[in-house]
């Protein structure tokens, strides 16, 4: 310590202190000036920048997904709707002990033990204040069970969300399509603003083709949020515009009949109203339950669907291209009449086979002993192959293919739920372009001959066959096939009817030619020797039809073929086309049963039942 103490000079010390206080004041003013300058920079110079930042902080725009449009059949039966689906949701920040909660939910059977890993990942990927669905599609029983346990699970809630539901399940699945989660590929196609908040998108058929109508427009809520994103106040709400409802031309009863008939088989049934092109039945078997896609198929389930040899996801009605077989004979007969072919007016002797002049190759008739002397009417009714071999040879491939194309074969029908298969109508030009070897690029007369009975290169979809049959029924008038009849605005209830679109008609020089064809097709069912006489029994309405049996497997020359020995999948496809009532046709139908064997025996009865259900209504 300092012992040589100085004398205190009070006056001097006070002056020193005052100087120091002044120095402090100056420093204080300078430092305050620094802070004020800083404030001026923030609040005066950069005020706008920070104001924008603070706006962005507090306002969040939350999308309100629209309710998807409903789908009805022509009689107001609901085919696709939105049902409240109960799901368990957890908000992590409100849960005291997440692990314990999950364990207890698992032991009470509300979540499956195999899904807890997925749930943990899901929770980890979300924000703590998000409500995270951990279990969808709860049953009433489970909802009740949880209601009792609720007090023991803070932060866990049951919420009702709208989910697509197809009350008919498998029925009409290939017509309706289904909705499913938005995939990365979908994401690229759509406007993200329109799908903000939407979980599902239409995948195929009607759900896909009419997605813009069905989806609707999302609304939004501008909400004031706090720093945790928790909603504090709704500033502005713009309600979602629900999607438009679709009224299909489909008749669900006839559809159910068709699908019941196809049960256990592979095949398709398409029925069209000849007066306007409306699709009445659109069945493809086997089908699938579209509700599975909403629930979310497990990897296992999806693999089973995809790898099934029967290809349940394949839309046979739209994309299955089959040799049409004898079902094209009425169209060829019409061409013969139009061309004033000598065959059309005279009889031909059928001895069970046909050979081209100067060629020993025998084109066999389905009836080995032959039909004897036969004219056009009987040749259609009895499906005489020999007659049409000769007819084809006389007409030549150019006229045959042009006629078939006039009926819509070989090109897209432009149905509103495409894309579809075009089928194939072979021409000389087609052969030249599609074969590489020069010797194969020539059209051979033999190829014309087999085209005459709907074999060879010729391929048609069930939809095309139904369309062609409807064209015959409407005597040449053609309409674009359409699945959707009307679109209803759910806000006003107004239905915008979709007008039938007429296509280029099949032109005939003499209208009586139609009468001859139709009468021959009626004889298929009414004539004692008609191929399908069995299906016309006790019919309350007149039916015109044509059977077809398409070879899948070529039988070598000089060999008889034994159905039993052929593997099931080598058997012929069974086809049948029909329309009714003949006088004023209201329905035209095409049936294909893959490897069904006989057209009249297997496909015919299916067609009859569909006609009866549609024409007879629910009574039959």
């Amino acid at each position: 310590m300092d012992y040589t103490r100085q004398i205190k000079d009070h006056w001097r010390e006070q002056r020193l202190f005052t100087r120091r206080i002044i120095a402090c004041s100056v420093i204080a003013v300078l430092l305050s000036g620094t802070v004020l300058t800083r404030l001026a920079i923030l609040q005066l110079v950069n005020a706008e920048y920070y104001a924008a930042q603070s706006q962005g902080n507090r306002i969040r725009v939350q999308p309100l997904p629209p309710a998807r449009g409903l789908i009805f059949d022509r009689n107001q039966n609901i085919l696709a709707e939105n049902t409240p689906s109960y799901q368990l949701e957890v908000t992590p920040e409100q849960v005291p002990d997440l692990e314990d909660t999950l364990t207890r939910l698992e032991s009470s059977g509300l979540i499956k033990s195999e899904s807890t890993g997925r749930i943990r990942n899901l929770i980890a990927s979300k924000r703590r204040f998000d409500s995270i669905p951990i279990r969808q599609g709860m049953s009433d029983d489970e909802v009740a069970r949880f209601a009792v346990l609720r007090p023991y699970f803070p932060g866990v809630e049951i919420r009702a969300r709208l989910a697509r539901y197809y009350p008919y399940g498998n029925i009409a699945a290939h017509a309706l399509g289904y909705v499913s989660g938005i995939s990365a590929a979908d994401q690229e196609m759509l406007d993200p603003a329109e799908y903000a908040g939407s979980a599902y998108i239409g995948k195929v058929a009607v759900e896909r083709a009419f997605e813009p109508d069905l989806h609707g427009l999302p609304g939004h809520q501008d909400v004031l949020v706090n720093v945790r994103g928790r909603m504090m106040q709704v500033l502005d709400t713009e309600l979602a515009v629900p999607g438009r409802d679709l009224i299909l031309s489909l008749d669900i009863n006839a559809q159910m009949t068709a699908e019941a008939e196809l049960e256990g088989r592979r095949g398709a049934v398409v029925a069209i109203d000849p007066s306007n092109g409306e699709i009445l039945v659109f069945a493809s078997a086997p089908g699938f339950d579209p509700n599975g896609f909403i629930r979310g198929l497990s990897r296992e389930e999806f693999r089973t669907l995809q790898n099934d040899a029967d290809q349940p996801l394949f839309n046979r009605a739209l994309r299955g291209a089959y040799p049409p077989g004898s079902t094209i004979k009425p169209m060829l007969a019409l061409a013969g009449l139009e061309q004033n072919s000598s065959l059309a007016t005279q009889r031909v002797y059928c001895r069970g086979y046909y050979s081209l002049p100067g060629n020993p190759h025998r084109y066999r008739d389905w009836k080995p002993e032959g039909h004897g002397l036969i004219n056009l009417h009987d040749a259609v009714a009895q499906s005489c192959d020999t007659y049409f071999y000769e007819m084809a040879n006389e007409l030549g491939i150019d006229i045959i293919s042009r006629t078939l194309m006039d009926f819509g074969l070989g090109t897209s029908t432009d149905i509103d739920i495409g894309p579809e298969s075009n089928g194939l109508v072979p021409t000389r030009e087609w052969k030249r372009r599609n074969f590489s070897a020069p010797e194969d690029q020539i059209w051979f007369p033999g190829e014309t001959v087999i085209t005459g009975i709907g074999q060879g290169y010729l391929l048609a979809t069930p939809l095309q066959l139904a369309h062609a049959t409807a064209t015959i029924a409407a005597r040449g008038k053609r309409f674009r096939p359409s699945m959707v009849q009307g679109i209803r605005d759910p806000m006003t209830g107004a239905i915008a009817q979709r007008q039938p679109r007429e296509l280029t008609p099949v032109h005939v020089s003499n209208a009586s030619n139609w009468d001859q064809i139709v009468s021959a097709m009626e004889a298929v069912i009414t004539d004692p020797r008609g191929t399908a006489r069995a299906i016309g029994m006790d019919a309350p309405w007149s039916i015109a039809g044509k059977s077809g049996t398409a070879q899948v497997f070529s039988v070598a020359q000089n060999e008889t073929y034994n159905k039993e020995e052929l593997a099931e999948r080598m058997r012929d496809h069974a086809l049948f086309v029909a329309f009714a009532p003949v006088e004023e046709p209201r329905i035209a139908v095409a049936v294909i049963v893959e490897n069904g064997g006989s057209g009249s025996g297997v496909a015919g009865p299916v067609a009859r039942k569909v006609l009866d259900t549609y024409l007879g209504g629910a009574a039959l």
């Binding site: 020193l16 402090c24 802070v35 404030l39 609040q43 950069n46 507090r58």
Partner: protein
């Protein structure tokens, strides 16, 4: 310079002023404090998200602190000088006790539970300058180098212990208070320059001794955008709040940053940002002016004090008050790292209000217990 009010006689003041004088309270200081405290209540109500309970608690603390201030003002400054060393060493002992057994609050040991929860570091805010002033009161000034070294030791002991709690903000403030006493005692400018140079040289060592979160705060100050959701979040949100207030502010209770809790610690250390947001540049400028007026009054009282102890104590308390205001506003505006220093008289919470008003009680005691000496 104002003439010492005592000489003008009581008759020149109104009856209220007269009453205040007789209660040993300084009218000018009282006016300034009351205005800031009242404004502070409004701001705090808004900053707490309209939390009336919090406001009631705040008002209760102000009441307690005001009582302490009035009591302190009655105590003759000479008596304070006599007890200063005892209080200082008692405080030091309590600090040691806190480190040994103290309660953990906010991640740091600061509290001592003696019936009421009590922070010894708050006591040291007044005890340290009082101790230094006691040491210097009958010595010739400026102090010798040896004496200065002794004072630095007396400062370093409590500062070190408080920094260990860890409470860097308070430690720095007490260090600065001690430094203010040394500066006011008239230490030579060359020593100050030398000390500053040494402080800069010691920075790497300080860096080494800092806790990771303290280092983070310094790094964050240099580049807040680097960690916008972590350590930089405070500064970014605070700057948005202040900047978006503009000239006139968004209006009381209308600051979205504060009301919607984007601003962390909005009712305590970052309340200045709420003022900036809701009252704009005009509001913060006025508040700063009010603070400067209070400080100016403190300097006047210190300059007019009659003995070395009063002078140094009053001066250092005023300087410390300024440090409070400056460190807090500079930190909230992003000029200084985030050290936990509340905005004096406005921020909600704790012992600091009591300490602050006790300090002003000392200033009032200095002003009102003077012997009426002719000049």
């Amino acid at each position: 310079m104002m003439s010492p009010s005592g000489r003008r006689g009581a008759q020149s003041y109104g009856t209220t002023t007269h009453l205040l004088r007789r209660m040993h309270l300084d009218p000018q200081l009282m006016a300034g404090l009351l205005v800031v405290l009242a404004l502070g209540m409004f701001v705090l109500f808004s900053a707490s998200g309209n939390d009336a309970d919090l406001l009631v608690g705040h008002v209760a603390r102000i009441g307690l602190a005001a009582l302490v201030m009035v009591v302190v003002a009655q105590i003759n400054i000479a008596w304070m000088r006599r007890v200063a060393p005892w209080v200082y060493f008692a405080g030091l002992a309590m600090l040691a006790l806190v480190l040994a057994i103290g309660d953990v609050g906010g991640g740091a040991q600061r509290w001592l539970d003696i019936g009421v929860r009590f922070q010894p570091s708050e006591l040291m805010k007044l005890a340290v300058p009082a101790m230094l002033a006691w040491l210097l009161h009958d010595r010739a000034l400026p102090p010798s180098l040896l004496l200065t070294a002794g004072m630095l030791l007396l400062i370093a002991a409590p500062v070190g212990m408080i920094a260990l709690q860890p409470d860097l903000g308070t430690a720095i403030l007490i260090g600065l208070t001690g430094a203010a006493v040394i500066f006011l005692a008239g230490i030579g400018i060359r020593y100050i320059v030398a000390a500053t140079a040494m402080a800069f040289a010691a920075m790497p060592l300080l860096w080494y001794l800092m806790h990771p979160y303290q280092k983070q705060r310094v790094l964050t100050l240099l580049d807040p955008e680097k960690d916008p959701l972590g350590a930089g979040y405070h500064i970014i949100q605070s700057k948005i709040a202040i900047g978006s207030g503009g000239i006139f502010g968004k209006g009381w209770l209308n600051g979205s940053q504060g009301q919607l809790e984007f601003l962390p610690e909005r009712s305590t250390d970052f309340i200045f940002a709420v003022i900036g947001e809701e009252f704009g540049f005009i509001g913060v400028t006025l508040l700063l002016l009010l603070y400067l007026l209070i400080i100016a009054r403190g300097f006047v009282i210190a300059a007019a004090a009659q003995d070395t102890f009063s002078r140094l104590l009053a001066g250092s308390i005023s300087v410390t008050f300024f440090f409070y205001v400056f460190v807090n506003t500079a930190m909230v505006t992003g000029l200084l790292p985030v050290v936990g220093v509340p905005l004096p008289l406005v921020s909600a919470g704790g012992t600091s209000m009591v300490t602050l008003l006790a300090g002003f009680g000392i200033l009032m005691s200095v002003q009102t217990h003077r012997k009426l000496l002719p000049r």
